[in-house]
Amino acid sequence: MTASAQPLTLAAEAGAGGTLLWVVLPYVSLAIFVLGHIWRYRYDKFGWTTRSSQLYERRLLRIGSPLFHFGILVVLLGHIGGLVIPKSWTEAAGISEHTYHVGAVVLGTIAGVATVGGLAILVYRRRTVGPVFSATTRNDKAMYVSLTVTIVLGLAATVAANVVGGGYDYRETISPWFRSIFYFQPDPALMSGAPVLFQLHALSALLLFAAWPFTRLVHMLTAPLGYLTRPYIVYRSRDVRLGARAPHRGWERTGS
């Protein structure tokens, strides 16, 4: 983890490599993310589940799972705050760069440690508890690697930037680049200047997003927030699709 305050960059300038990494790859992974989810939802509703292993083991899960999930939710909020909300907005709201930075570092470190700790417990559990391990697919293993790498790189980038370099203001470079993708004027030069750990974090995240629809992570997209508002008892009419075949009518319907 050789953190460097100097702009040691992957692509020297926003040349062909920079364009490939910070323009093409984001759009490709975004497209796979969106279309993949649509495809998965149409093709594999039955496989769309958390695949909970609580039945096998609950002592470790009870600590690890909430730790990880709540941690990652805070991390998600932090990313939205850091990437989506422009610096000018927070400054207009009277939050100075220093205040923002301290808040982000403190909150981010707590959430990051909780996430990594929870993830460590979960991975340990998955490897050591027999039934849980035997229920682990190759897909799961690849997903765990990808997820762990992304999270660890993210935490490393933050820690390195703050411990060694006295802070890196990603809201000048990474955040505008991130937003530029969404209004279709991507600027790879912004990203080419970022520290290498941030770059690696972004790259691994892009790869993770591309793999996302094909892993068990899809359960995140169906987080049951609707539960807060729906009526308790659901009534449904008999489902004509239960036989899994589109019904075709053999005769014309009569009046009733």
Partner: protein, 568 residues
């Protein structure tokens, strides 16, 4: 008044001999797959006993069902919506596999392919979860027939509610069987607990189902159901539960458990109820008032107003007629001999039970008195507080009065019918003593003792207008689907991912897989497993016998040291 129809069941516990045929046939029909080895949509419990999963009735621990909060409003005992979402990452009150049991099979292969040795080879138990050797210590029926009750009787949740003396004496006093399926409640707490809204109650017949495409495996329904009749499939990561055999019921056939019941103790029929009064009934302040409150929710299908309202609610005419002939309605509301199981859970369960008179009759007979005489039996019902209190814990939230009344009716029927069968003058005073007429008592006797198939199961089929949904069963070969999605085994995202296969195709492939597979423990190579229970004895599916060693075509093996191997 909002009329809805509910397919319901009544079980006459006096007739249950505890043979477990219902459990076995149900298991073979619905849950003989990997991931649901420990799942019993239907199970038969010996009472007194712990039940399955162990001590499921202890709602202080498991938090199933509903309760009234301080303001008297109905809330889920395990916590409301917000608490559910907060604890979604690790459900704090989910029974673990230890509370059910670790499913296993036996390593039968050793018996056929073990080398020649001094000792007879043994088929060791192998865990179906880990595939490793295991020590069997519990199963779904470990305390069957009070087996081991000296060690486990104090774990019966209901016995803790009654006195010390009873705990001590119960074994000599009484025992009976309690078959249980999903209750298909009017106010299902499993459905209310489901964060994804995947569990629903069908409008047409009230059957509670899990939409396998919408279930995301949040596991809250397992906690929510106080009867612990929603199970988690640990391979697919989805909840599964008793379906009331809806594919059979839709074509007018009874459920598998009913169809195969040896004692013919199950009755299936429609009940019409007022959906607008369900919440009010479930919120009855007093636990002991719930039985009566639920009965008040049911509507009289002969009442012209009810019929008119039912027609307005689009309930077909033949369904209304079926509701009028319904044995379930008769047993619950006309003869008032059926009682709900644990009404205090406030889910308004719809599988009801006729409590067993046999403990009382046995006790009287053992004392040498006339066990058919209604006076003796009435006195015994009054005197034998042990069974009555226990039954009251089970069926009426602890109020002995309704149980008393039911047992008296059954006793009266017994005495009254004896006179008729012996050619004596029937005594009209006997039915009168339990508030029934002679005609009515005879009708009840007919229903309880003589009723034939079509009287026990009054099931109006799903409607002809909807026949296309039944096509799979009737009109064309559903197996022309080879290579479709979900064809046994695993899709790209784990166990049986991919779209839903028609049920018939699924059964066909599951059966074929089982007949042509060879490993004892499923998780290792479950594509090749032989299940002898499904082998019809014809032919020999590949894998039934071990592969002959190469070069042994002549039948004898030169290397076996002169010993001749036994031939099948």
């Amino acid at each position: 008044m909002r009329v809805m129809a509910q397919m319901a069941m009544v079980m006459n516990l006096d007739k249950c001999i505890g043979c477990h045929t219902c459990s076995v046939t149900c298991k073979q029909a619905w849950t003989n797959r990997t991931g649901v080895e420990y799942v019993w949509f239907n199970n038969v419990e010996t009472r007194p006993g712990q039940g399955y999963p162990r001590r499921y009735e202890d709602q202080d621990t498991w938090k199933g069902g509903w309760e009234l909060n301080k303001k008297g409003r109905l809330t889920l005992k395990a916590g409301g919506r917000f608490k559910k979402l907060i604890t979604i990452f690790s459900n704090p009150v989910l029974p673990s596999l230890d509370d059910y049991y670790e499913p296993w099979t036996y390593d039968y292969e050793t018996l056929t392919n073990a080398p020649l040795q001094e000792h007879t080879p043994v088929a060791r138990p192998k865990s179906l979860i880990t595939g490793k050797d295991m020590k069997i210590s519990w199963s779904a029926n470990w305390d069957d027939d009070l087996g081991g009750s000296a060690a486990t009787s104090e774990k019966d949740v209901l016995l803790n509610e009654v006195s010390e003396k009873i705990k001590f004496e119960f074994e000599q006093t009484f025992m009976f069987y309690l078959p249980r399926i999903c209750e298909h409640c009017l106010n299902p707490s499993c459905a209310a607990s489901c964060p994804s809204g995947a569990i629903y109650k069908r409008e047409e017949d009230g059957i509670v189902l899990v939409d396998q495409d919408r279930c995301r495996g949040w596991r809250m329904c397992v906690t929510g159901c106080p009867y612990k009749k929603v199970y988690f499939n640990h391979r697919t990561g989805k909840a599964e539960k008793c379906t009331f055999c809806f594919p059979r019921v839709e074509v007018g056939l009874p459920t598998v458990c009913s169809e195969t019941c040896v004692g013919r103790l199950r009755y299936i029929g429609l009940v019409l109820y007022d959906a607008d009064r369900v919440l009010e009934a479930a919120s009855t302040p007093d636990d002991t008032g719930l039985y009566e409150a639920q009965r008040q929710v049911f509507l009289d299908p002969h009442d012209p107003e009810v019929i008119a309202a039912a027609e307005r609610a689009d309930i077909p005419r033949d369904w209304i007629e079926a509701a009028q002939r319904s044995p379930v309605h008769a047993l619950i509301n006309t003869y008032k001999v059926a009682l709900p199981l644990h009404p205090e859970y406030r889910t308004l369960p719809m599988v009801w039970y006729i409590p067993p008179l046999s403990p009382v009759v046995d006790a009287v007979r053992d004392t040498g008195h006339d066990a058919e005489d209604h006076r003796t039996l009435f006195a015994a019902v009054d005197a034998l507080r042990i069974p009555v209190d226990y039954l009251a814990q089970l069926f009426t939230a602890g109020d002995p009065a309704p149980v008393d009344a039911v047992l008296r009716r059954l006793a009266a029927m017994r005495a009254y019918m004896r006179d008729i069968n012996l050619g004596r003058e029937p005594d009209a005073a006997i039915p009168a003593s339990v508030g029934m007429g002679e005609e009515q008592m005879y009708d009840m006797y007919r229903l309880l003792a003589l009723a034939k198939y079509d009287e026990r199961y009054v099931i109006p089929p799903a409607h002809a207008e909807q026949a296309h949904s039944l096509e799979e069963l009737a009109t064309e070969c559903s197996l022309d689907y080879e290579g479709g999605p979900g064809m046994g085994g695993s899709g790209p995202f784990g166990e049986t991912s991919g779209g839903a296969a028609p049920i018939a195709v699924e059964n066909f492939h599951a059966l074929r897989d089982r007949q042509t597979s060879d490993t004892p423990a499923a998780p290792t190579a479950k594509a090749t497993r032989v299940n002898l229970l499904n082998w019809d004895g014809k032919g020999s599916p590949p894998g039934l016998f071990p592969e002959p060693p190469p070069g042994s075509d002549d039948g004898g093996d030169a290397d076996s040291g002169g010993e001749v191997e036994p031939k099948p």
